[in-house]
């Protein structure tokens, strides 16, 4: 049986002591252990940023790609081998800023993978500039007169785009987050968990305390109303709900592609005969 320790990596962790990312990492390991997925059977794709470093700090197959481009990288891998179980670790800047276009179009495709957005409401690795999710008016190292754009609400946008699994988690509630990740991985399609994550070095507003004062766990079963989900995702000033906002079954992307029916591309044999037929093809084009 898989143990959480199976995911222990020798590689030195580089996050700041107290960083919310540790909670996310632990929840991931816990979720994988409980889902009985060993390191050899998981592929983690990530972008660049503190969030993007996540897979280095555990045992797994991994591709730590470009800033903002984790989703298309993961999608490519999934198309090549739709049996892959994929988690994507991305930052709020990585996913909603540089990678915003891929975020939207990944949802339209409904690719079967789990996207974890480490939403610390700041650019951590580049030392504290505002991210798309930074609160209006927030003072940062670069926005010294305060942020003047409205914050980006990932779950809300995801819902508007028709996402079938939309959740919010909190790095400070590992058990709950692990559960969300397990549910998300079980869901066959694109699943988003926007994770509230304190950045102890650069976000002096949205601290552990700030979060604990506001966050509450959604009780009971997942609401099956879009409107309710939309309302929950919109909350955030005084009360921040965590849990699954919305879950709806729909065919995932690779299942929509007829040519993938016989099995993953990566395991299909090369067939020179079929190819030759095509090469001979119609001599008149």
């Amino acid at each position: 049986m898989e143990k959480k320790d199976d995911f222990l990596s020798d590689y030195e962790n580089q996050w700041c002591p107290g960083c919310g990312n540790f909670g996310i990492l632990n929840a991931m390991k816990d979720a994988l252990t409980r889902r009985k997925i060993p390191p050899q059977k998981i592929l983690i794709v990530s972008g660049i940023g503190q969030a993007g470093k996540t897979p280095h700090f555990m045992k797994c197959n991994m591709f730590h790609g470009l800033h903002g481009r984790a989703l298309p990288l993961a999608l490519g891998a999934k198309m090549a081998n739709h049996d892959l179980k994929i988690i994507v670790n991305s930052g709020d800047g990585d996913c909603y800023g540089e990678g915003g276009n891929h975020f939207m179009h990944a949802i339209r495709r409904n690719t079967d993978l789990t996207l974890l957005v480490h939403n610390n409401q700041v650019y951590g690795l580049t030392k504290g500039q505002a991210s798309p999710t930074s609160a209006y008016g927030m003072i940062t190292t670069m926005q010294t007169q305060g942020v003047i754009s409205d914050p980006f609400n990932g779950p809300l946008v995801a819902l508007a785009l028709g996402a079938g699994f939309v959740a919010r988690g909190f790095s400070g509630n590992i058990k709950h987050l692990s559960d969300l990740i397990q549910q998300a991985m079980k869901y066959k399609g694109f699943s988003l968990i926007d994770i509230m994550q304190p950045c102890v070095s650069f976000n002096k507003v949205n601290t552990y305390e700030w979060y604990t004062q506001r966050i509450y766990e959604l009780p009971g079963p997942v609401p099956d109303s879009f409107d309710q989900a939309f309302a929950l995702a919109g909350q955030g000033e005084d009360r921040i709900p965590i849990g699954i906002f919305y879950r709806k079954e729909k065919t995932d992307f690779t299942s929509r592609i007829p040519v993938l029916k016989p099995g993953p591309l990566v395991s299909r044999p090369y067939d020179p005969v079929a190819l030759q037929v095509l090469l001979d093809g119609d001599p008149e084009m």
Binding site: Y11, P39, Q40, K41, I42, L43, V45, I48, K53, H56, K59, C60, N61, M62, F63, H64, G65, L66, R69, L71, P72, L73, A74, L75, G76, A77, K78, M79, A80, N81, D83, L84, K85, N101, H102, M104, H105, I257, V259, L260, P262, L265, V266, R268, Y270, D271, P272, V273, A274, L275, Q276, V277, L278, L279, D280, P283, E284, M285
Partner: protein, 575 residues
């Protein structure tokens, strides 16, 4: 590509012009098909604007009893679906050339005949059939028996409704009738012989090269003149394990291809210069992650949007140096459908073997032109993938994706295929793939990547040579091959001591192979390129020290005609 030059007894050039939306390309294809069926060689190019209706576009076909590889600049026949075609192109007609132009019958003169294509089309059912009328006129003049045309028409429209077929046949008939009593300079199609090969478009040859490489993912964002390559692949994707995915942008396209390749299949993307800009960061990702990927860049004039539907060779410098810092890559530039097929396969093979990105540099002229392919394409028996699995690895759990080796190539495993964990980062890394800040590891990885260069350079073929010790040496690359070769023949016919050197394998530049090819007898070295700075010339100078003396640079978005090259060389000789 080195073709022996045999004098042609038949060499006809025909231009069919009109507005976008008038079906010029269909006319063209029909004529091309009948010529092929009748055993002739053809070479045809498409000239069109970046719009869907209106404006001016043309199809120009050259017909011969010998293989041909370039268009000709003077016309035997000009068919105008509108008057504008005549106004724009009448000066291209040979002295004995004939123009058949839309207009009321009656105001004919011997070299300029008007035919009411539109009216005949309407009579056949709809004005849109005017193009079939025009095609029929043309084929009639060329001597094609009506039933040959009919057979081809029926094949082309086999999926259409009986009314459409009926109308087309009617239109064809009226076209034949309109010019039945005109005698054209030559009626080659009256004497058919067996077909010499299949008709092929450059973009189809590229797409076939990709599937013959067992490419299984092609991600892309539409961009002229690359889109047709993907359209072909899309057609093939119904019959092979191949997914063609339209991405939200070019950044996604290249990252998808890299992700797919990482996961274990051959993958590619295709675009033009503007899209390539957006792929440059991904190119660097492929490089540092040592993930094979093939990128086709179908060039068009730039910068920026430039001339979307025209041809150019202006991206050579860019693709060789694209993305920050140094890393190895391949750049191959085919000059014919045959090379499109073979070099695309070479690109996939080399990308896999060396775990580097490979760029296939083509252009609108090559992609959108039609050719006769004499030797059928053959599917390779096996596809060598250079991928390892647990059983090839001593201790799979200690697998290191970037293990240092003398060749610089590390055994490549794929993720989730066994015990070996595959760890890859776009940050500089140690052998196990994890990020590092260490200067020594950094040096080791740069050296490892660069260590591939000698073997990569060995893979590069030297340029094709024709009379390399001639007094005048023409140098070119990629799609201008045909025009330059023919220009050499034409000039030699005129007793000029001219040769040529045509590159396909451009990077890593095989300097040691190229240097000895230059002869002391050569007095003038001409760069013949479709850019404004002689990009290959600069590269040759940098890599070999050999400086060009003359240049013929064409950058108006139109392909070279052999005669243009001949004229330029002759004019220089005089002055």
């Amino acid at each position: 590509m080195q073709k022996r030059y045999v004098k042609m007894s038949i060499d006809l050039s025909i231009k069919i012009g009109g507005e976008a939306g008038q079906g010029i390309q269909s006319v063209g294809n029909l004529i091309a098909l009948v010529c092929r069926e009748s055993g002739f060689y053809i070479m045809a190019m498409n000239d069109f604007e970046s719009r869907i209706r209106g404006g001016h576009s043309f199809f120009q076909i050259r017909i011969s009893d010998r293989p041909i590889h370039a268009p000709a600049d003077r016309l035997d026949l000009l068919i105008g679906l509108n008057q504008e075609t005549f106004d724009l192109h009448r000066h291209e007609l040979k002295d004995k050339g004939l123009a058949i132009i839309e207009g009321e019958t009656g105001k004919n003169n011997k070299r300029h005949i008007t035919v009411p294509f539109n009216a005949f089309g309407k009579q056949a059912g709809n004005e849109i059939y005017s193009n079939t009328v025009a095609a029929a006129c043309c084929l009639c003049l060329l001597g094609a028996p009506p039933d040959v045309m009919k057979t081809i028409l029926l094949k082309q429209f086999k999926h259409k409704s009986p009314e459409v077929i009926e109308s087309n046949l009617k239109a064809a008939e009226s076209g034949y009738g309109a010019v039945a009593d005109i005698i054209f300079v030559s009626r080659p199609l009256a004497e058919p012989s067996p077909p010499k090969g299949v008709l092929i478009e450059g973009s189809k040859a590229l797409a076939l090269g990709a599937v013959a490489s067992d490419c299984r993912i092609a991600s892309f964002y539409p961009m002229s003149p690359a889109t047709n390559i993907l359209s072909w692949m899309n057609t093939f994707s119904k019959k092979l394990p191949l997914v063609v995915e339209q991405a939200e942008d070019e950044i996604a396209a290249v990252n998808m291809a890299i992700g797919a390749s990482f996961a274990g299949v051959r993958a590619m993307t295709a675009t033009s210069g503007g899209g390539f800009c957006l792929m440059t960061e991904g190119l660097g990702l492929a490089a540092i992650s040592e993930t094979p990927v093939v990128i086709m860049d179908a060039q068009r004039p730039g910068p920026a949007t430039g001339l979307p539907t025209r041809t150019a060779q202006g991206d050579l410098n860019f693709v060789i140096h694209a993305s920050q810092d140094d890393f190895p890559r391949f750049v191959l530039a085919p000059g014919s459908p045959e090379e499109s097929f073979s070099l695309t396969q070479k690109a996939f093979y080399l990308a896999d073997k060396y775990q580097v990105p490979a760029i296939v540099l083509v252009d609108q002229y090559l992609a959108d032109s039609l050719y006769i392919l004499e030797k059928p394409f053959k599917a390779p028996n096996i596809i060598e993938r250079f991928i390892v699995t647990d059983k090839d690895i001593a201790v799979p759990k200690d697998y290191k994706r970037f293990a240092l080796t003398e060749s610089g190539i590390s055994p490549r495993a794929i993720p989730c295929a066994g015990e070996a964990l595959v760890i890859v980062s776009s940050d500089e890394h140690t052998e196990d793939g994890h990020m590092t800040e260490d200067g020594n590891h950094r040096n080791a990885m740069v050296d490892k990547r660069n260590a591939k260069l000698p073997a990569m350079t060995d893979e590069m073929n030297p340029p094709t040579l024709v009379h390399p010790d001639a007094k005048i040496l023409l140098i070119g690359w990629g799609s201008t091959a045909g025009a330059i070769h023919e220009a050499v023949c034409l000039l030699r016919d005129k007793k000029k001591d001219v040769g040529c050197m045509i590159f396909t394998d451009l990077w890593p530049f095989p300097a040691e192979k190229v240097k000895p090819l230059f002869s002391v007898k050569t007095k003038s070295v001409w760069m013949v390129e479709q850019n404004s700075s002689a990009q290959l010339g600069c590269m040759i100078r940098r890599q070999t020290g050999v400086a060009w003396t003359h240049s013929l640079l064409k950058y108006d978005g139109r392909p070279f005609y052999p005669q243009e090259i001949v004229d330029a060389v002759e004019n220089q000789e005089i002055s």
